[in-house]
């Protein structure tokens, strides 16, 4: 295809999860004529397709649904309003234009659109990336893989695994196990407390799974299948737990490999794209929404974010969105801070100017927004990793003459 071909679509959306699908529906509602969702799996719907448990859909459909039913409803709604969904099409590169290269069962093709929304979601950090030692038997799985095997294929890859992590998704893994008749033998958490909200603390107890806090897996044993894990406590004392699998949960990472290979700027803190408060990337024809922006939020949040991003894209097509420059970068100060999203602010009003901040470890202290030495906002926080902290920017008089600092002063222990 040549460069002067007219764009085939007004908006191309990469990723048919909650964020991508809700954006597509909202774009149609706002009168955008041609919207395509490009999804590499056989079916759109994203991660909820294989979360065979509750609760999904409160915000979107005002009722409690299981993941697969929720995903099916999202797809159905999109099709009903005239969104084109192309499944089994993988985007392989993002280029200025915007132009995206795809691979489908028919081979390579190029798709041009006036705007592109990237909504490729998150995945879990692997055993390899965590440098967990030992041998490499089968039976070491992420929650995502486990859910796929259990809910999509009715398989039971092991019967007595350990679960590593206590994020929300770790409890998803627990529920998935229960569904498949798998009995986890322990839940192992390196931190001193559970990462997910405290109510979850009741769950493993209720299901009869011992919880080991302040412990880490130092070694996986087994030849063909996992036979045991070695677990070390804070003092380095080790014990051996017999198990036939390891579910390596959470520590989400944005699925940003497409961005890393492209002309678009990536934020090494969040792992997602650099965006301004209009969900706009360093190339203003590209937008992003959903968990690609940051690890990790619920389906409902991502769905709402997709809708909000759609409004920005419609504004951009109509020429009503503020210029992408001048803008100010946000700088993080404080060792416990993991990321802030958006990373850049454009001088404009009327956008969802909420900053989302996360910590990398449990921490207590005062979080502030400081511009040119002036403290504009502060709040005491008692934060755990993977829990959202929101800073309402719309009430702050921010001028963009210098960097905006997000400062976290931790309490002395």
């Amino acid at each position: 295809m040549t460069g002067d071909t007219a764009p085939a679509y007004d908006v191309a959306i990469i990723g048919g999860g909650p964020a991508g699908l809700s954006a597509a529906v909202e774009l149609k509602r706002l009168g955008v004529a041609s919207v395509v969702v490009i999804e590499r799996e056989r079916e759109a719907g994203g991660i909820p397709r294989h979360c065979g448990h509750y609760p999904f859909g409160m915000r979107e459909f005002s009722r409690v649904l299981r993941g697969p039913d929720y995903a099916a409803r999202l797809v159905e709604r999109a099709l009903r309003v005239g969104v084109e969904i192309r499944t089994r099409v993988s985007v392989t590169s993002l280029k200025p234009g915007p132009q995206i290269d795809v691979s489908s069962p028919d081979g390579l093709a190029t798709i041009r659109a006036r705007r592109v929304l990237v909504a490729t979601g998150v995945r879990e950090k692997t055993r390899a990336a965590r440098l967990i030692g030992g041998t490499k038997p089968s039976g070491v799985l992420s929650t995502g893989a486990l859910q796929g095997l259990v809910y999509l294929d009715g398989l039971k890859p092991f019967s007595r695994p350990v679960i590593l992590g206590t994020e929300l998704v770790s409890f998803s893994a627990l529920l998935t196990c229960r569904h498949a008749g798998i009995k986890p033998v322990a839940m192992i958490e390196p931190n001193a407390r559970i990462t997910a909200w405290r109510a979850s603390r009741l769950l493993p107890g209720a299901l009869g799974v011992p919880l080991m806090l302040g412990a880490s897996i130092t070694r996986i044993e087994g030849r063909a299948q996992v036979e045991a894990v070695e677990v070390a406590d804070r003092s380095g004392r080790t014990s051996r737990i017999e198990a036939d699998g390891v579910i390596v949960t959470g520590q989400f990472l944005p699925e940003a490999s497409l961005l890393r290979d492209s002309h678009l700027a990536v934020d090494s803190m969040s792992g997602g794209p650099c965006v301004d408060q209009f969900f706009r990337l360093s190339d203003p024809a590209y937008f992003a929404a959903g968990n690609l922006l940051r690890p990790v939020e619920t389906a409902g949040w991502c769905w709402a974010e997709g809708r909000a991003a759609a409004r920005m894209i419609a504004g951009s097509l109509a020429g009503t969105l503020p210029e992408p420059t001048p803008r100010a970068g946000l700088a993080l100060m404080g060792d416990a801070l993991k990321y802030v999203v958006p990373q850049r602010l454009v001088a404009a009003s009327g956008a969802p100017r909420t900053l989302q901040v996360r910590v990398r470890r449990p921490a207590r202290g005062t979080l502030s927004v400081v511009v040119s030495g002036q403290n504009l906002w502060s709040q005491r926080i008692d934060a755990l990793p993977e829990r959202r902290i929101l800073i309402p920017l719309d009430r702050l008089p921010i001028d963009l003459n210098g960097p905006v600092h997000i400062v976290f002063a931790e309490d002395k222990a």
Partner: protein
């Protein structure tokens, strides 16, 4: 002679389907011998050949005048001769030997001389500026070095697959899950007792890699060497890292190891490793978190931008080292046995050369097969970044493993044919499914569906190999 001994079964039984056994099966088959390859694992390449660096060495740093050096030289040139016909990739990366300290720098002239003595005459000394011009992402602390333009990157699995496939399509046989447990030589032929029944062959070649000494003990009662497994751990970085370096980055080698290498893979990733750690276990290469973290740190010292890139895989391999430096290849004339042992750290490069050398020893034993006049040249699937991949062509039936871009068509093809895998690990080595950054997060379910009832040892979850 194959005719006169027809009743005794095969001319030659090769014990072990590592890269060396595969290359031997090919050479002997092309020369007209009736071959059988016996492998104890469910799939080929399950021993030392499972985890290496994937470098096609010139042998520039091999000991001068050694058997290893001559086998590397002839293996290297045969690979270049045959690779296109078999569909094997070649990434013409070249290598840089880098000195980071004064002592290392002082050794460079001696190493360059050794290279020239080994027939690698095109090495060229480089200043740090010249090195940084070639490799702008390298740490500025590099002092000096030299380039070895013909050190290349290959696919460590497709090469032995192709060798064995050519043997099989030209009449050789393969038995998997067939462990050689004992053997009797009756003065003219062998009767091998295996876990899958008895096999008769006139001659036996022991290419059992990490078990070479044990198989010799089983068949001869003694072994002339002892295997001392030497573990090598690696970290592999995601695709984004591969763009950071062009050449294979080699350190100044020490007496026992080539040292930590930074090197692209044929699949467009980047590896840092291997370590060299002696151990006694032959069947278990345990990954050690502290060591992996050190490799990561070493990688970042050499290429600082690696600090920002995710580790996508970790693995370890075992070298079949012995108490000797050189290969241990010996014909035991009186019992028609050839031992091919101690192929420790260069077997991928030298295998084709070893096979020629072993065949000449076979002729010396008095055998005289007739070479095939018009052998078949099968090709293996091209899964490296060096050529066009299935996902870039029509009728690929869709991508299944998104990280490594493996298509349904590639998986279907891999599940068919004489080398159809028996285990999920075997499928991974043929296609690279689940070996990328997500390690099966997205595609495990689809793979379970695709491989259902088609693997002798079905997948229970995604095994977490290289």
């Amino acid at each position: 002679m194959s005719r006169s001994h027809a009743q005794s079964g095969f001319d030659v039984a090769v014990v072990g389907a590592g890269v060396v056994g595969c290359a031997i099966a090919r050479r002997f088959t092309l020369e007209g011998a009736k071959m059988i390859v016996l492998e104890k694992a469910p799939d080929i390449l399950d021993g030392a050949s499972k985890g290496n660096s994937g470098i096609l060495h010139t042998g520039f740093d091999a000991p001068c005048g050694s058997l290893e050096q001559s086998c590397i030289a002839s293996g290297y040139s045969e690979y270049l001769d045959i690779r296109e016909r078999l569909g094997l990739p070649l990434i013409r990366s070249g290598a840089l030997v880098l000195a980071w300290t004064e002592e290392e720098e002082a050794r460079l002239p001696e190493l360059m001389q050794q290279a020239r003595d080994n027939g690698v005459g095109d090495v060229e000394a480089l200043t740090s500026d010249e090195i940084l011009r070639r490799e702008p992402n390298l740490s500025r602390r590099v002092r000096a070095g030299f380039c070895v333009p013909r050190e290349f990157i290959i696919d460590p699995w497709s090469a032995p697959h192709a060798y064995l496939l050519q043997a099989l399509t030209n009449g050789a046989e393969l038995r998997r899950e067939c462990e050689v447990l004992a053997g009797q030589f009756d003065g003219s032929a062998w009767r091998l007792e295996t876990s899958a029944g008895e096999i008769a062959a006139t001659c036996v070649i022991n290419a059992a890699g990490l078990y070479g000494d044990l198989v010799d003990q089983t068949l001869r009662g003694v072994s002339d060497f002892h295997i001392r497994p030497r573990k090598g751990q690696f970290v592999v970085y995601d695709k984004a890292a591969a763009g950071l370096v062009k050449s294979i980055l080699l350190p100044v080698p020490s007496a026992t190891t080539k040292g930590i290498v930074v090197c692209r893979t044929a699949f467009g990733n980047l590896l840092v490793g291997p370590t060299a750690e002696e151990q006694t276990a032959r069947d278990e290469a345990v990954l050690v978190p502290e060591t992996l973290a050190q490799l990561q740190e070493r990688g970042t010292q050499i290429v600082p931008a690696l600090s920002d890139i995710e580790v996508s895989a970790i693995y370890a391999g075992l070298r079949p080292a012995t108490e000797f430096k050189d290969y241990q290849i010996r014909a035991h004339r009186e019992i028609n046995l050839i031992t091919v042992g101690g192929i420790r750290s260069t077997g991928l490069s030298s295998a084709l050369g070893i096979a020629r050398h072993v065949f000449s020893q076979y002729l010396e034993l008095g055998h005289a097969p007739h070479a095939l006049t018009d052998p078949i040249w099968p090709t293996v699937a091209q899964i490296s970044e060096a050529g066009e991949r299935s996902w870039q062509t029509p009728c690929n039936d869709g991508v299944v493993c998104h990280c490594e871009r493996v298509t349904r068509a590639e998986i279907e093809a891999a599940l068919e044919g004489p080398l159809a895998p028996g285990s999920f690990a075997g499928l991974k080595r043929k296609t690279r499914v689940t070996m990328g950054r997500c390690q099966g997060f997205y595609c495990s379910a689809e793979l379970a569906r695709l491989t259902k009832d088609r693997l002798k040892h079905p997948m229970s979850g995604a095994p977490d190999d290289r």
